[in-house]
């Protein structure tokens, strides 16, 4: 690959052009003409994956604000996997529910572009633009079923709170610029390291504001209020997409900003994030236990998983940083697959996402029940799945950094969380099918391929994690 100033944006451009192609195809297709728009999107995403692999270890940088370092590329790969799985699940759902295909796929792809941009941005303003690109697309995706009042409500709540948090984020950028005179992360970091600013309240205000902005996006307690409603109201496949993609992108930017630019102030922000992490883990788990809707339960579980990721961020040692990347990948694949099962079980008129809708699934659809079980066990952190290795590394990072309390709380909450994951499993295997319920939907073709592929990845990460862990460790060492 030639060295040009545009190298670092090539993965993004692949997805952008795919999204534009989808838009054009949608504009020029006949009313009832079927087009493989999802396939077009997958081509773009594969292009992004290939170009990311070619950029590996090259530390390409475009315009000084987009850096394709290994950290960003690792997250980009995670996002591409999320995107491909989402499109595969969507291809079933879009046809079944009669969603506007062109708009749907274009929005998914634009959201992925925003996510990749957020993961590779090296400038606070570019991170903000990326945040808006992905948020706007996801707001619309949340409410893409306009005829469903729950989806509309979810989209509206998500939009209002998202806009509110963007304001916090923007204020944080403004204050940071006011203190350091730059929005570039490397310059902010160098400036803060050179000054002894420990008595400046302004920089603490800036850090606090940015923290609030990020906490909204990763739905850390107490900024999680929108999460359950938005996740429950959105179509299940979109929920899977936003609970993983948005979280991965936001966490990548969060990690980059706090561990590179604000590293000199870690003494100040580590206690703040400590409180957020503990509150997030406990509330996500405890409230998750009380849920009877599987989608809502997984929403609280994704809040709790955000808490575990925060633990890695606080530990901030090499193990912790690599663990964040590994955990993001493991969590993303697992969660997309879990929501994929829910999406595939739904019908056009009924979401079928209540706990009792899963009763006796094993008797009707054994394959689907087995796949869902693997996802739930991985979310619960049981060996030999990806979730186990992820949690193991997160907690061992916390212990080696001396945060015993965090590790203990983390382990205890994940034990509690196993209760509500296993409750679904028990429903599927040990209960008879509720006679009042219709037979579960047939799943085949692309949806099943995507499910099996994600299960393979979950087991691969769970049984042979070394290679991916090495990659994660390698990518972390290049920047921090």
């Amino acid at each position: 690959m030639m060295d040009t100033p545009f190298n670092a944006v090539v993965p993004m451009l692949c997805v952008v052009f795919a999204a534009l192609a989808v838009m054009m195809a949608e504009a020029f297709r006949g009313r009832d003409e079927q087009m493989a728009l999802g396939g077009l999107g997958i081509v773009g995403l594969v292009g992004a994956a290939v170009s990311s692999m070619l950029l590996w270890n090259r530390n390409a940088s475009s315009f000084g604000v987009i850096v394709a370092d290994n950290f960003g590329l690792f997250v980009t790969m995670t996002l591409v996997i999320v995107g491909v799985l989402t499109i595969m699940f969507s291809s079933v759902v879009v046809r079944r529910d009669g969603l506007p295909a062109g708009e749907y796929y274009a929005l998914v792809l634009f959201a992925v572009v925003g996510m990749i941009m957020m993961a590779t941005a090296n400038d606070l303003l570019v991170i903000f633009i990326a945040l808006e690109i992905l948020s706007l697309a996801v707001y619309v995706l949340t409410g893409i079923r306009r005829d469903d009042p729950r989806a509309t409500e979810a989209a509206f709540k998500y939009f209002l709170l998202g806009a509110f948090s963007s304001a916090f984020f923007l204020y944080g950028i403004a204050f940071t610029y006011g203190v350091s005179g730059s929005t570039r992360l490397d310059r902010i970091g160098a400036f803060l390291a050179a000054q002894s600013m420990s008595d400046s309240p302004l920089i603490l205000v800036a850090i606090g504001m940015l923290l609030v902005g990020f906490a909204f996006k990763i739905s850390a307690v107490p900024f999680h209020m929108w999460t359950p409603d938005a996740y429950e109201g959105a179509p299940a496949v979109v929920t899977g997409f936003m609970s993983t993609g948005v979280k991965a992108a936001a966490f990548a930017a969060f990690t980059r900003v706090f561990l590179s630019a604000f590293e000199p102030f870690s003494v100040d922000w580590a206690p703040m994030i400590w409180i957020l992490a503990v509150a997030t883990m406990i509330l996500g788990t405890v409230v998750g236990v009380a849920q009877t809707n599987v989608k809502r339960m997984l929403a609280y579980s994704s809040i709790a998983h955000g808490g575990y990721l925060l633990v890695g961020l606080i530990a901030a040692n090499d193990v912790g940083k690599a663990a964040i990347l590994f955990y993001l990948l493991a969590y993303a694949v697992t969660n997309v697959a879990a929501f994929g099962v829910i999406a595939l079980l739904g019908t056009r008129d009924a979401a079928n996402d209540e706990l009792r809708d899963f009763s006796g699934l094993w008797h009707g659809r054994p394959a689907l029940a087995a796949l869902m079980t693997v996802c739930l066990l991985s979310l619960g952190g049981l060996p030999p799945t990806a979730g186990f290795i992820g949690k193991w590394y997160i907690f061992s990072a916390a212990v080696s950094a001396g945060y015993y309390g965090l590790a203990i709380i983390g382990v205890l909450t994940s034990v509690v969380s196993v209760f509500f994951y296993l409750r679904v499993v028990v429903m599927m295997y040990m209960e008879e099918r509720d006679p009042g319920l219709a037979a579960p939907a047939h799943v085949g073709g692309v949806g099943m391929v995507a499910l099996v592929a994600s299960i393979v990845v979950i087991f691969y990460l769970g049984v042979l994690p070394t290679r991916v862990l090495d990659l994660a460790a390698e990518s972390i060492s290049t920047i921090f």
């Binding site: 952008v16 534009l20 838009m23 054009m24 949608e26 504009a27 020029f28 297709r29 006949g30 009313r31």
Partner: protein
């Protein structure tokens, strides 16, 4: 202070000009008030009902398209001013930006957002071509 003097003069001129004009029309203008003229919005129609009513969604679409191309202009002007300094690299970047926007333009066109007549709006573009 030197650099800011121009700005201060401009602010004084702007505020002064507006003040003088309003003052003059107060002093010199004929006063012949009628209830219609005293209404908050004097535009020929008596104000009836609440301002918060439902508008056709077309208005929002038009507003959004306007915003899009307004932003395009906001980029084009500074680029035109700095054309020579930015050179070919700047040209290529702006053309790319322009092409991406035109995809959006073609999209809204084909989707019928620019057809404001009530009859044309309900028909799908493909059907119209066939007819």
């Amino acid at each position: 202070m030197n650099g800011w003097l121009g700005l201060v003069i401009m602010i004084v001129l702007a505020v002064g000009y507006a003040g003088v004009m309003i003052g003059l029309s107060l002093l010199l203008g004929p006063k012949n008030p009628t209830p219609e003229k005293l209404a908050p919005y004097e535009c020929g129609m008596p104000a009836v009902g609440d301002a918060r009513e439902r508008h056709s969604v077309k208005f929002y679409l038009v507003a959004m398209i306007f915003l899009l191309f307004d932003i395009e202009i906001a980029f084009l002007y500074p680029w035109a001013v700095a054309l020579r300094d930015l050179g070919w690299a700047g040209f290529v970047q702006l053309v790319t930006f322009f092409l991406i926007l035109s995809v959006g333009y073609v999209y809204v066109w084909r989707k019928g957002v620019l057809d404001w007549g009530p009859a044309a709006r309900v028909r799908h573009p493909a059907e119209r071509k066939a007819a």
